[in-house]
Amino acid sequence: MTPTSLLSVRDLVVEFQTGEGIVRAVNNVSFDIPLGKTIGIVGESGSGKSVTSLAVMGLLQKPAARIPQGEIYFNGQDLLKYNEDQMRSIRGNQISMIFQEPMTSLNPVFKVGEQIAEALRIHKRLSAKEAWEKAIHLMNQVGIPNPSVSAHKYPHEMSGGQKQRVMIAMAISCEPQLLIADEPTTALDVTIQKQVLELLHKLQQEYKMSMMFITHDLGVIGDIADDVVVMYRSNVVEKNTSNNIFMGANHPYTKGLLACRPKLGANPRRLLTVSDFMTEEGQEKIVLPERIQIFDKEMVEDKSEKVLLEVQDLVTQFPIKGGFFGRTVDNFKAVDGVSFKLKKGKTLGLVGESGCGKTTLGRSILRLIEPAAGKIIFDGKDITNVNHEELRQLRKKMQIIFQDPYSSLNPRMTIADILTEPLKIHNEGGSNSQRIDMARELIEKVGLKSNQMNRYPHEFSGGQRQRICIARALMLRPEFVICDESVSALDVSIQAQVLNLLLDLQEEFGLTYIFISHDLSVVNFIADEVGVMYAGKIIEMDKASRIYKSAKEEYTRALLSAIPKGETKNSSGLMV
């Protein structure tokens, strides 16, 4: 242990007792957090990063989890030797924590002011009145407007960003020496994420706290952390300074993680993935030079002139119920007059923050939700009002891939059933065994093995399930596919693979895409044209290669500047 480190984790092992036996979630992990510094812990889902933080807090669920080995020194004392009472006097007082889900992490039936005051009353022995006043002061400090009024609010009366600010106020109330932030911005929109990161950074400076910042997103790390610990499959694979990570990471996994995230601007033709840097066994690989070759979409000749889809002044609204008998008193226009044209074989990216209407727009185009006004012209034919049977026929040509790979496959059907169902509905593909053959062919195309056809969805990982969803959408050989946040729920390394797959399939089948996402850099990578949505309208639309350089709208620029750059202030300076 170095004398200046506040927290020092030594050879930590955490194991879970599960139905299938003992699983080691954290394996021989060691790292230090120096006084007043921020350490970023980066890893994908299941890497053991959150378990590590819970171990530090002493919050692991006891009979199931156990720590057979290791030490966690805090101010020179081994926390693992503390009893529950000693731990309690540390928690919320000297070490405090912010969680990922601000929606569920606050108690729904208490006022937020009370929840902030609570820790002060336990640890600092403040009276109710003093604690309440301190709470209001803290809310002011974390940037909640009108704190003396807001303190009386219940959590559901606040937005996600404000709730996370309340969580932060709660965590810093006793001026802790160490703040653990577990994916504090993952559930937030990108513009809110930026504000929260800035706030955390500011508070850390003011309070001279140390911070343990846990995230799956290396991009965020550059904005906030001094040093980085990279975790992969329960192990620490790299410890380095932030600068070094971005300038030249050592471990191939870190390199892969950095490379697989699409950059705003130029990218290779297909994204690099972790497997370009590392073999399955963890051996370093030499990256093939053609894989890093920058690809300029502008250079591809625009052969297609045929417009496949045209949307004119589309409006979709939801009734607002009110009055005595729940009559419709007003309509909320989720999509409010949207128009665009999409050429065959091209990709339109729709980007916007939660609630902007992008998902409703996608479903309205497919008429999964009925639009209220406007026109949808597909392949030269107005489909806005076609009847049920014609619409059924149209489903063969237009398909959708959803966001959540867990809920978009029927858990009671085998993969073979799921894939052949579209053919059955439309009475296509000949006999059942011919249909299965078609499914088998496609399942290999999306990168799965055809001998897995009799399995059920829950036996696959998130990325594999999304591949199954893609295969299902392509079974009827559609011309047009809407991808609705189709990679948002995936880890970045999986996300890159799926994006590459979508591009491969587009090339092979001549597909036209609408790609909906909250993530501008993903949209920028995959789309030819990008539309920015705000409050039901497309406020700006331009070529993908131009919009990030010369956005005209204030909102687009705000979105762009909020994207984590994936670099530190120093490293970007040095690169110039």
């Binding site: 919320g92 969680f99 992490s105 606050l106 039936v109 336990i122 559901h156 969580m167």
Partner: protein
């Protein structure tokens, strides 16, 4: 809030009409002609016609239905076939003995169950938790009739600690009549109550906000009593309030066994005598009670849970 209450009040109308319809269909349509039963085999045709007129059975079916609906609002249920008394008076007389038994038993069993379930939730997964759970399930698997029979025989007959049956409306005497049925009521309710309360409390214990409370350094007991219980109380209140109307109906079987002259006993007597008006009256009365307390529990729910916004 006011609007919500009014809307819920208005929704009571179709439900009351529906309840009246069920009761009407059962007693006025499916049941057939009761006069033959009432007058016995030797009745003349004239007697039967007169009686039908007297009972309002010669009216059109729709008019008979309206009578049922009217009684649901006016509580004017007519006269008993068996005792010839005015039913609303019988109900008023029976309500007091029923409440004397049910109210204290209900209050004690609810509080006791709540205390046990908090205790068990604190020691969840430990031996005592398992023991109480097994005890609840085993207790619930024994017939209510067996409890009543055994307790009455053992504590009242064999040991003579309590009166075997009967009722006295004046104070200390009351206790020796009420205590045993009340104890049986409590024994019968604790199983299902503890099971429900425990499940509700444990559902809350695994929520994210509890982890937040732990990360603030709160003790387990504080987390349970302040954070968890406050949330768990929302479904618990609903569960408890919705049972209140059944207190008026009393405990059918308990009153029967212990000869308590309450509404439950009255209902069973009416059942044995095929006294349709009294049966109808009790069905309507208990349904109205249920609907009203359903409304109250809904309103309490919205008061207890700040997340529910009323327009």
């Amino acid at each position: 809030m006011i609007k919500y209450i009014i809307r819920r009040l208005l929704y009571m109308i179709p439900v009351l009409l529906g309840v009246s319809l069920i009761i009407f269909v059962l007693f006025n349509v499916v049941s057939g002609d009761p006069t033959a039963v009432l007058l016995g085999k030797n009745a003349t045709a004239k007697q039967m016609i007169d009686l039908r007129e007297q009972l309002g059975l010669n009216k059109s079916l729709f008019a008979q239905y309206l009578d049922v609906v009217k009684s649901a609002f006016t509580f004017d249920f007519g006269y008993s076939w068996a005792t010839k008394q005015e039913i609303s008076k019988m109900i008023l007389q029976g309500a007091l003995p029923s409440l004397c038994l049910s109210a204290p038993a209900f209050i004690i069993s609810t509080i006791l169950s709540l205390l046990i379930s908090i205790f068990v939730a604190y020691y969840r997964g430990k031996g005592i938790d398992l023991f109480v759970r097994v005890f609840c399930i085993a207790g619930m698997s024994i017939s209510a009739l067996a409890y009543i029979l055994f307790f009455q025989w053992f504590f009242a007959y064999k040991l003579g600690w309590f009166e075997i049956s009967g009722f006295e409306a004046s104070f200390p005497e009351l206790i020796s009549y009420i205590a045993l049925p009340a104890i049986i009521w409590i024994v019968l309710s604790i199983g299902p109550d503890v099971r429900f309360f425990r499940t509700v409390i444990l559902d809350e214990i695994y929520q994210d906000y509890v982890r937040t409370a732990r990360s603030k350094g709160l003790s387990e007991i504080k987390i349970l009593l302040q954070h968890v219980l406050r949330n768990a109380l929302i479904p618990i209140i609903t569960y408890v309030v919705i049972q209140i109307p059944s207190l008026i109906l009393g405990a059918l079987l308990l009153e029967n066994f212990f000869s308590i002259p309450g509404l439950g006993g009255m209902t069973l007597n009416a059942l044995n005598a095929s006294d349709f008006p009294v049966m109808k009256a009790m069905a309507i009365l208990s349904s109205v009670g249920y609907i009203i307390f359903g409304l109250i529990s809904d309103i309490l729910y919205t008061v207890a849970d700040p997340r529910i916004k009323l327009k």
